[in-house]
């Protein structure tokens, strides 16, 4: 068995080749490059990061906060003292917008991330075990889809959940309720995707080696639907932001004294004519938030999709080279 230690000459040659040519580009590098090539997506990312920073440090630029009433400036348009004017109660709109943006982003990020995580584990488990487990879990999932989310949110945040309301701030309660109702669609998608992954040879190889199912789900299935998960996170964040706005708008989401973009928009709808800044400012911020996420999503899809044409044309490039 001595000659077994001799390294195959073919492999050595291939190695030399791989090292000389820059064949090896990490997948993450490729994804990053592709994302950066999409200018819209980069703009979206910049806007989103800007809003996030604004929501955390914006409060330092004004002496006012969301609770202090300025009795001398009630329902005033934007001025030097109040950058964005004040509400009918005399509260600084700028301070409220900063606060509302933070709550909205927080709700969006938490709901987006956690619901995708739940969906991933649930969907993969369903797909891996199949059979009876799949049937029962699918039934639970369908039942949740059938449940009228709107009513549950209304009950939980207003009348029914009195005990809950005492212990939790309204935004946390809204997060929990949104979480319960937001992961099912993604879970079904992940289930079907994992089912096709199950047919892959590497999953079979692991099974034939006798690797326990839990390990296969965690090590082989979840990471390999990663690109879908990333896309679904941004989509989930957008969805959660919009849901929060919608629920708060009809008065069953965030409750005063907590503010969110939805609360601001909802309370200003009746005064669009008289106090337009009260309505347009939070609406613009909300649009910037969801719009930037949508722009990013487009770029992410480009980056992860192997068939995307984000690489550009050979003809154009060679023409450029000739000019240079």
């Amino acid at each position: 068995m001595t000659n077994l230690n001799a390294v195959d000459a073919a492999a050595v040659a291939e190695e030399a080749h791989l090292q000389n040519a820059d064949v090896v580009i990490g997948k993450s590098t490729i994804i990053f490059r592709r994302f950066m090539r999409n200018k819209t997506a980069v703009a979206g990312l910049v806007v989103f990061l800007g809003l996030t920073v604004f929501s955390f440090v914006g409060g330092f630029f004004t002496p006012w906060d969301k609770e202090t009433i300025d009795p001398f400036n009630i329902a005033m348009p934007p001025s030097g003292e109040h950058f964005l004017g004040t509400s009918q109660a005399g509260i600084d709109l700028y301070a409220m917008t900063v606060e509302g943006t933070r709550i909205s982003i927080l709700i969006g990020l938490i709901v987006g991330l956690v619901s995708v995580l739940i969906a991933a584990v649930y969907g993969c488990t369903m797909a891996y075990f199949g059979g009876k487990v799949d049937k029962v879990m699918l039934f639970v999932l369908e039942a949740l889809i059938m449940m009228p989310a709107l009513l549950v949110v209304a009950v939980a945040t207003s009348g029914g959940g009195a005990g809950l309301k005492r212990d939790l701030p309204s935004w946390l309660l809204l997060i929990i309720v949104l979480l319960v109702f937001s992961w099912m669609g993604t879970a079904r998608l992940i289930r079907s995707l994992s089912m096709s992954l199950m047919q892959r040879d590497y999953v079979k190889a692991a099974q034939y080696m006798g690797v326990p199912p839990r390990r296969i789900v965690w090590r082989h299935l979840v990471p390999n639907i990663g690109s879908l998960l990333v896309l679904d996170i941004t989509r989930g964040v957008t969805g959660a932001v919009l849901a929060e706005v919608a629920f708060s708008f009809i008065g069953i989401g965030i409750k005063v004294p907590d503010v969110s973009l939805g609360v601001l928009i909802g309370s200003a709808t009746s005064q669009v004519q008289t106090f337009p800044w009260m309505f347009w400012v939070p609406l613009t911020v909300m649009f910037l938030l969801t719009g930037s996420l949508a722009m990013m999503n487009d770029g992410l899809r480009d980056a992860f999709d192997p068939s995307s044409s984000s690489i550009g044309s050979a003809r154009k490039n060679s023409a450029k080279k000739k000019q240079a």
């Binding site: 080749h17 490059r33 080696m209 006798g210 990663g226 044309s313 060679s318």
Partner: protein, 748 residues
């Protein structure tokens, strides 16, 4: 691209050499009479790594009615060349040069202008018949579509008549009824016939066939090649045949162009290329292919390394890094395609082509390793231990119909009473068409459980005892698998270390022991030990398959199940992996269970072979006996369908072309499964046919003839070959025999 310094030899007299016409390489004008002439074709693509120069100066002339074979490994630019000719490359590609069809320039035409030529003067047959037909239209509609576009005035009746004519030309039975059938009602081979019918609908002058048979079974491949041949004869079209299989073009092509790294490296008549290759790459390609018709087992010739990355223009000969004959001079500039001494129109791009020739042994040039001997080879088979035994294993799937109330309308007998055993140190192969139950057999073995119908004994433990996890894992340890697709078999997110560590962790090894074992494994399969931190996508296909083999060997199994281990690899790489498998079997005393559709590979590597048809073994025995003296008509047909990379043999040998496809499981014949397609059965008198139709032939040894018995004066030990046929010596039906005469090819 090609050199202008070499003068075309003035050769106008009608001679056999006249048909070698890929000649006009250094002319600026196309040769007279060429239907298609390509000059200095260059294609560039943009990738993440930079600009790739995929095709670098291809020139050829195609004469009417002739066939040009373009051969090369994947990535050599052969498909890109064909797509560039058809104008089907994406607009992002940069194409330059000239493509003249009957004197008209095609390059630079916009899509609309190209449409006037595509499907009319120049047509294409694609590789994958399953996806090249639209599933929502009938076959008839798709054929008439091709007719309508180029003949707007044609009447409906005329179009239908032409469609029927086309379908019968490509050999589809009852063409009139089949016009209204949808693509999913056809098998793969039938769909490829329809594709050919569509391609020849408007009597094209040039037919481009891009790997037309790669996705098909050997028996179907033989049928489709036959259809292509007829289609060419009927329409007089010139054919550009693109393939990686040197056997497929050997019988069909008049001329061959070998491509490497986007450039033609050797061109010439088919005989010149096969019998007198002058470029080391061509020699290597020919030596890398195992031969189904040769019993002698020498190691195959692996071409080391992988093709160059075309992001950078090679400074020397593009083959130099892999060439065993490389010298200092090879690195100075790429050699141009130059005529080789002796063959007037035979050209090779090698500075040493003069010293190479028919008398140079490729095994010496490429220093192929000696064939390893296993310690088990000396022990008679009967005395070795069995590592795997199958006893009457069955797998039947119920076939149901109806959405709400499921009625059972039949049974698919995927595996029907299979028994065989594999001894230590032996390679046992299962061959057969797709649908014959090979894969199901593997699954039955790999997914053994106690409720199985039949008994699977792995390393002395029966599946009937495998109730508890401990017994199961003991059985799993004896048995590991190597998958067909090396890319799919490795988790893209695992480094090689993690891939190899998985089975070891599972076996409960400690960390230092795992590290040590992984280093051993890497060396065992010929990979650099410091590659363990790489991801699978950073390896070439051959290296990935080596990782897959290393993973299978991690827990020291005694039996490795190989599911088409080399079919996804290029021939040159394939040879390296086959040699590795040979070496491991000898040195580690492994047994293999190999499933492969490539009978040449099977013959090269196995000791015993079983031929399966519709879930049953129809012939089993020692590989050389079965291949040299096949008794079952199905085995005979399979063997005759395999193209051999030897043009003379290909043209003269008798081929059995089986009719039709595997029968659907619903209409599975009662008696002998094979009766519906059997060439012997077709020629039998009616009285004997009765026996085939009613009785199932048992798998039996060939009874020694009376004469032999008399000679030996006593019972002769039966040779290791069993088959299931009542009339192994029956005459073959003449309709199913095809011979291509040489005259047909040499005619001026």
């Amino acid at each position: 691209m090609s050199s202008e310094t070499y003068l075309e030899p003035a050769d106008s007299r009608p001679s056999p050499a006249d048909r070698l016409h890929i000649a006009g390489l250094d002319r600026s004008l196309p040769m007279d009479g060429a239907v298609l002439s390509v000059r200095d074709l260059n294609v560039r693509f943009n990738t993440e790594n930079g600009l790739v120069h995929a095709v670098r100066g291809v020139d050829f002339d195609l004469m009417p009615g002739k066939t040009l074979g373009i051969v090369g490994e994947s990535g050599s630019g052969k498909s890109v060349t064909s797509l560039a000719i058809m104008g089907l490359l994406p607009t992002t590609a940069d194409v330059s040069g000239s493509v003249m069809l009957k004197g008209k320039e095609l390059l630079g035409l916009n899509d609309k202008a190209m449409c006037a030529y595509r499907g009319n003067d120049i047509a294409m047959v694609f590789q994958d018949p399953l996806s090249s037909l639209t599933p929502v239209y009938t076959v008839g509609a798709q054929i008439t579509e091709a007719l309508t576009i180029h003949n707007p005035t044609m009447s409906k009746q005329a179009k239908e008549a032409r469609a029927v004519e086309l379908l019968s030309m490509v050999g589809i039975p009852s063409p009139k009824d089949r016009l209204r059938a949808f693509p999913h009602e056809f098998s793969g081979g039938m769909r490829q016939r329809v594709m050919i019918a569509i391609a020849i609908a408007n009597n094209p002058r040039v037919l481009v066939a891009d790997e037309p048979t790669t996705a098909l079974d050997v028996t179907i491949q033989a049928q489709v090649l036959e259809v292509l041949h007829t289609a060419q004869e009927e329409t007089g079209a010139a054919v550009v045949m693109i393939t990686h299989d040197l056997g497929v073009v050997a019988g069909m092509a008049d001329d061959i162009m070998v491509m490497y790294a986007g450039k033609p490296v050797e061109t010439g008549g088919v005989d010149d290329i096969y019998y007198n290759p002058r470029m080391p790459y061509t020699m290597g390609l020919l030596g890398a292919v195992p031969r189904v018709d040769v019993a002698e087992k020498a190691s195959l010739v692996p071409i080391e390394g992988i093709p160059p990355n075309l992001v950078r223009t090679p400074t020397g000969c593009s083959f130099a890094p892999r060439c065993p004959l490389v010298s200092e001079a090879c690195l100075n500039g790429e050699p141009a395609l130059a005529p080789v001494p002796g063959g007037a129109l035979h050209r090779a791009a090698c500075i040493k082509s003069a010293s190479l020739g028919a008398d140079v042994d490729v095994h010496e040039v490429f220093s192929a390793p000696p064939r390893p001997e296993s310690r088990f080879d000396l022990i008679p088979r009967e005395e070795r231990r069995a590592v795997l035994q199958l006893k009457d294993v069955r797998k039947h799937f119920p076939l149901t119909k109806g959405a709400l109330l499921k009625r059972r309308i039949g049974t698919v007998k995927a595996v029907d009473g299979l028994s065989f055993d594999i001894r230590e140190g032996e390679c046992f192969s299962i061959v057969g068409e797709s649908g014959s139950g090979k894969t199901t057999t593997l699954l039955e073995i790999m997914e053994f459980h106690s409720d199985q119908d039949g008994e699977v004994v792995i390393g002395g433990i029966s599946n009937k005892d495998a109730a508890d996890a401990k017994t199961k894992s003991a059985m799993r340890k004896e048995l590991q698998m190597v998958f067909q697709d090396p890319t799919g078999a490795l988790d893209p997110r695992f480094t090689v270390y993690e891939v190899l560590a998985e089975p070891l962790q599972n076996a409960g090894l400690a960390k230092p022991a795992i590290r040590k074992r992984i280093m051993e494994l890497m060396e065992l399969v010929g990979l650099q030990p410091d590659h363990v931190n790489r991801f699978p996508n950073q390896f070439s296909g051959g290296q990935r398959q080596r990782v897959g083999i290393a993973r299978a060997l991690a827990v020291n199994p005694r039996l490795v199940v190989l599911d088409e281990p080399v079919s996804a690899l290029d021939v040159s790489v394939q040879a390296g992996v086959i040699n590795l498998l040979d070496k491991l079997r000898a040195e580690l005393g492994l047994s293999y269970l190999l499933v492969a559709h490539d009978l040449s590979v099977v013959r090269h590597i196995s000791n015993r072979v079983a031929v399966m048809y519709l879930g049953k073994i129809v012939e089993i025995g020692e590989v050389d006996r079965v291949f040299d003296n096949p008794r079952h008509p199905y085995t005979r047909a399979l063997l005759s369908a395999i193209p051999v990379p030897d043009p003379h043999l290909e043209r003269t040998r008798e081929r059995i072309i089986l009719q039709g496809d595997l029968p659907s499981p619903l209409e599975a014949p009662k008696g002998c499964n094979f009766a519906t397609r059997c060439p012997v059965f077709a020629a039998l008198p009616a009285a004997k046919k009765e026996q085939c139709l009613t009785l199932e032939p048992p798998l039996e040894y060939d009874p020694p003839s009376a004469a032999a018995q008399a000679l030996e004066a006593g019972p002769v030990p039966a040779p290791d070959q069993q088959f299931a046929c009542f009339f192994p010596d029956g005459e073959l039906d003449e309709d199913m025999l095809v011979v291509h005469e040489t005259a047909d090819h040499d005619a001026p």
